[in-house]
């Protein structure tokens, strides 16, 4: 793995002496020498009205050093939080005397594939649910416990434990049927120019991915890698916390994590990653 990263550095140096190349690179992501990740693939059909024909993981836009941290679980700080999540999984809490394990036993079996299909329509609740909403439903309904804060550390840990069971599986979010309305709403938000800077998600992540914006290399803003361990704040970051940060950066009033608006946006952004591998917990800067 190290070898690959070094080879990539050498190749980059030959291609662009003295210059950091801004284009997404062509490295291959194989985790622990065994999980082969699809980090670039054809854009899903619903994106045929965009300029994007190839969707790419945010991993391609990070430096070789940051990329290497995600190639081995011993170097991936996000994995520490998976362990904490596992302890939470076993922890009995609330009035019903249950832990997650009471109903779902081993997450390696019961949670396999879950991350790949969320957010999704829940026919009983008659709403689109994110993994975080489902976790909190289980806590309040089945455990009689307090919900986690939507972007809290506990939530991020639990999401990491659930995501890791689907690593390498393709994102496969359904956008038809009853989920369609939320998806359309999310799409509207993605293209809405907010705040005093009048910027939409698309301005940065569709029109300018691959370009530098000050010191940041703009990616396609995919969420297949969430939750994400960021070197910048040295913690696990949830999808809605990231959305909030990006909206704030347009000098706008943000939406609330867990709000209908952000659930809709998550469904839409997730669907732009249909076909990429689930990478969570990933490492970014």
């Amino acid at each position: 793995m190290r070898m690959q990263a070094k080879a990539a550095i050498a190749a980059a140096l030959i291609a662009a002496p003295g210059l950091a190349s801004a284009d997404p690179d062509d490295d291959t992501l194989i985790v622990n020498g065994e999980i082969e990740m699809t980090t670039k693939t054809s854009a899903p059909e619903h994106m045929s009205d965009t300029y994007i024909d190839t969707i790419m993981s945010g991993w391609h836009f990070r430096s070789d050093e940051t990329q290497a941290l995600q190639m081995d679980d011993f170097d991936n700080s996000g994995m520490i939080f998976v362990d904490t999540g596992r302890a939470q999984w076993e922890q009995v809490e609330g009035s019903e005397g249950n832990s997650c394990a009471s109903c779902h036993e081993d997450p390696a079996d019961s949670m396999k594939g879950v991350r790949a299909t969320y957010p999704k329509w829940d026919p009983e609740a008659e709403e689109v649910q994110t993994v975080a909403m489902q976790i909190n439903d289980c806590r309040t309904e089945n455990m009689g416990a307090e919900p986690y804060g939507y972007t809290s550390t506990e939530m991020a840990n639990m999401e990491a434990l659930i995501a890791v069971q689907s690593r390498g599986m393709p994102v496969d979010v359904k956008i038809d049927g009853p989920a369609r309305e939320m998806w359309e709403k999310g799409k509207d938000l993605y293209y809405t120019r907010t705040g005093q800077l009048e910027l939409s998600c698309a301005n940065c992540h569709e029109d300018n991915y691959g370009n530098m914006i000050r010191a940041d290399h703009l990616s396609q803003g995919q969420i297949n890698g969430f939750p994400t361990y960021r070197l910048k704040n040295a913690k696990l970051n949830t999808v809605h916390a990231r959305f909030k940060g990006c909206v704030r950066d347009t000098r706008a009033e943000t939406y609330k994590p867990g709000s209908d608006a952000f659930v809709a946006l998550e469904l839409y952004v997730a669907s732009r990653g249909n076909g990429l591998s689930v990478e969570g917990p990933s490492v970014r800067n």
Partner: protein, 159 residues
Amino acid sequence: MKLSTTILAAAVIAAGTAKAEPVAPGEVQFGDYGGIAESLTGKAGDPENGAKVMKTKSIGNCISCHKVTALSDAPFHGEVGPSLDGVADRWEEAQVRGIVTNAKMTFPGTIMPAYYKTEGFTRPGKAFTGKAAEEPLPPLLTAQQIEDVVAFLMTLSEE
């Protein structure tokens, strides 16, 4: 260029009689192609301060999107917009003023923010706090800062 300098000189003379107030953001007169003929302050800009406005992250932060060789003492120039080297050879001063004031009047739909606009935003926020703010917002740059930036940009000639 010749023409706009004359206009500027005229504006300065006119301003000399009464103490000039800067043109308010809502009252800026854009030409058909998005240019602004007269100085927003009635005064000439200070190019040195303009350079500072352009490279300072908490002020204009123009280099987050544009490469400007003359500002290469400041790190991290972006690639979202074109390089501004030689911009004075490509545009009249009036057009440059229009672009910095509200680039959407020159390039409809551009990603470039409007630096002297205070109303008409979707979900206006209080700077980078994420909290709601009432319009009118303070403009991103003051009229004098706009003029300073314009004065600096007009020094970027390669001819």
